[in-house]
């Protein structure tokens, strides 16, 4: 009995800091710029992009073949993705390729 209750407590202690780190993050697009341009998150974090420009943008991975690609986001459209694996994810806007940024997952 005692043993069985200690397991969930331990699990909560271990998970608590992770869930705090993994709070959802937002990247805004204003004036053809991703902000923040470099975002660092914990594994499991959901990142949402919101386009606040008067022109469509996309979120496309820079690697080939493209590992992720959003549909075109019109004004105020959002796109979300959860990053489960650690790594550095470079991405860009395929309509305006000078727009580049990264998500680093720890």
């Amino acid at each position: 009995m005692r043993r069985s209750t200690s397991v969930p407590i331990l699990a909560i202690l271990l998970l608590a800091p992770v869930t705090a780190w993994a709070a959802d993050q937002t990247v805004t697009i204003d004036n053809f710029t991703f902000a923040p341009k470099e975002l660092t998150v914990a594994a499991g974090t959901k990142v949402t992009w919101i386009n606040r420009d008067d022109i469509p943008h996309t979120i496309v991975s820079s690697d080939g073949p493209r590992s992720f690609k959003s549909p075109p986001l019109d004004t105020d459209d959002k796109f979300s993705m959860t990053f489960d694996r650690p790594g550095i994810y470079h991405y860009f806007c395929s309509i305006h390729p000078m727009m580049t940024a990264t998500v680093t997952v720890r």
Binding site: P72, P97, M98
Partner: protein, 310 residues
């Protein structure tokens, strides 16, 4: 008047409009200074030109934000101007961004409005037409006979027309690009042609380096220009930047046409190249079309820019 490669102000560009010195006769009419821009002799020549065609660009059907809530309406009006032209243009060249979001309904609208003019058309996509399946729906609809990459060429009225695609597979941090396969095709397409045949090239993004900070250029455009330089008259028409600009390098004249939907800022004049918001009364001056006249024996083609406000 000498033209330097660096960027002139918009006003200065317009002052250059009457320039006929080294290459092309470029005329601006409507909403802009036009006194003495075109002499009666030139006008008579244009009326007798072998071939007259129109450049229309960046219709962005589906765009509905400031400064133009009705991009379909302004496109339709400008098509009406084309349909009413006398002499009737042989065809229109649409230099891309037909749609705003690569939606079938947007292309349907554009296709129907163009068809209503009864005038032949040749189109290339802009990056806004490439958002679905690498542009396949656009090519299937508007350029079914093109090469697999979408590029094509044809001859009409003594001119060789080359339609190039520089909006496919854009790379992170990069500009417009033609790619090795298209460059090889271009070299072959031009190889056996007489240097005296006038060439007209259309691209969506400028083939020359207009403003790399905003991606306004083609990274491998210089290679294409190397194939074009031996010709006595080359006119490169592009869209993408929604403003009038012109540059001449030797026998190559670069001309950037207006959008029919919304203006964009001069390079570096705003924090970003997004749509320029202007007073409603000013919008029509900043939208327009260009008419190109070819008079045999007069190598440079005459380009007449006309705004909706004219």
């Amino acid at each position: 008047m000498s033209h330097k490669p660096e960027f002139p102000s918009r006003r200065r560009v317009l002052r250059c409009a009457a320039w006929t010195g080294a290459g092309v006769l470029w005329v601006v009419a409507g909403g802009m200074p036009r006194s003495a821009l075109i002499g009666s002799a030139a006008a008579a020549e244009m009326a007798a030109s072998e071939l007259t065609f129109v450049q229309i660009s960046d219709s962005h059907i589906g765009f509905n934000k400031p400064a133009n809530p009705d991009a379909t309406g302004t496109f339709k009006e400008l098509l009406g101007r084309i349909a009413a032209m006398n002499p009737r243009p042989a065809f229109m060249l649409h230099t891309g961004d037909v749609s705003h979001l690569s939606r079938d309904a947007e292309w349907d609208t554009a296709q129907q409005l163009i068809a209503e003019t009864g005038i032949e058309k040749h189109l290339i996509p802009g990056e806004h037409d490439m958002l679905v399946d690498n542009g396949r729906p656009f090519f299937a609809r508007f350029a079914p006979k093109a090469q697999s990459g979408g590029w094509y060429s044809f001859d009409q009225g003594g001119i060789h027309f080359v339609a190039l695609i520089n909006v496919a597979n854009l790379q992170p941090g990069g500009e417009g690009a033609l790619g090795a396969a298209q460059l090889e095709w271009l070299e072959d397409d031009l190889k056996n042609r007489s240097a005296s045949q006038p060439i007209v090239v259309t691209t969506h993004i400028p083939l020359w380096q207009v403003y790399p900070q905003w991606g306004w250029g083609t990274s491998d455009g210089a290679q294409a220009l190397a194939y074009l330089r031996r010709f006595g008259s080359v006119t490169v028409l592009n869209g993408h930047i929604h403003q009038l600009l012109q540059k001449v390098e030797g026998t190559v004249a670069f001309h950037t046409g207006l959008s029919t939907a919304f203006p964009q800022p001069a390079p570096g004049a705003a924090p970003s190249p997004g749509p320029m918001k202007v007073e409603p009364g000013r919008l029509r001056e900043l939208l327009g079309i260009s008419t190109v006249h070819y008079v045999k024996g007069r190598e440079p083609l005459a380009i007449v820019d006309q705004s909706l406000g004219a």
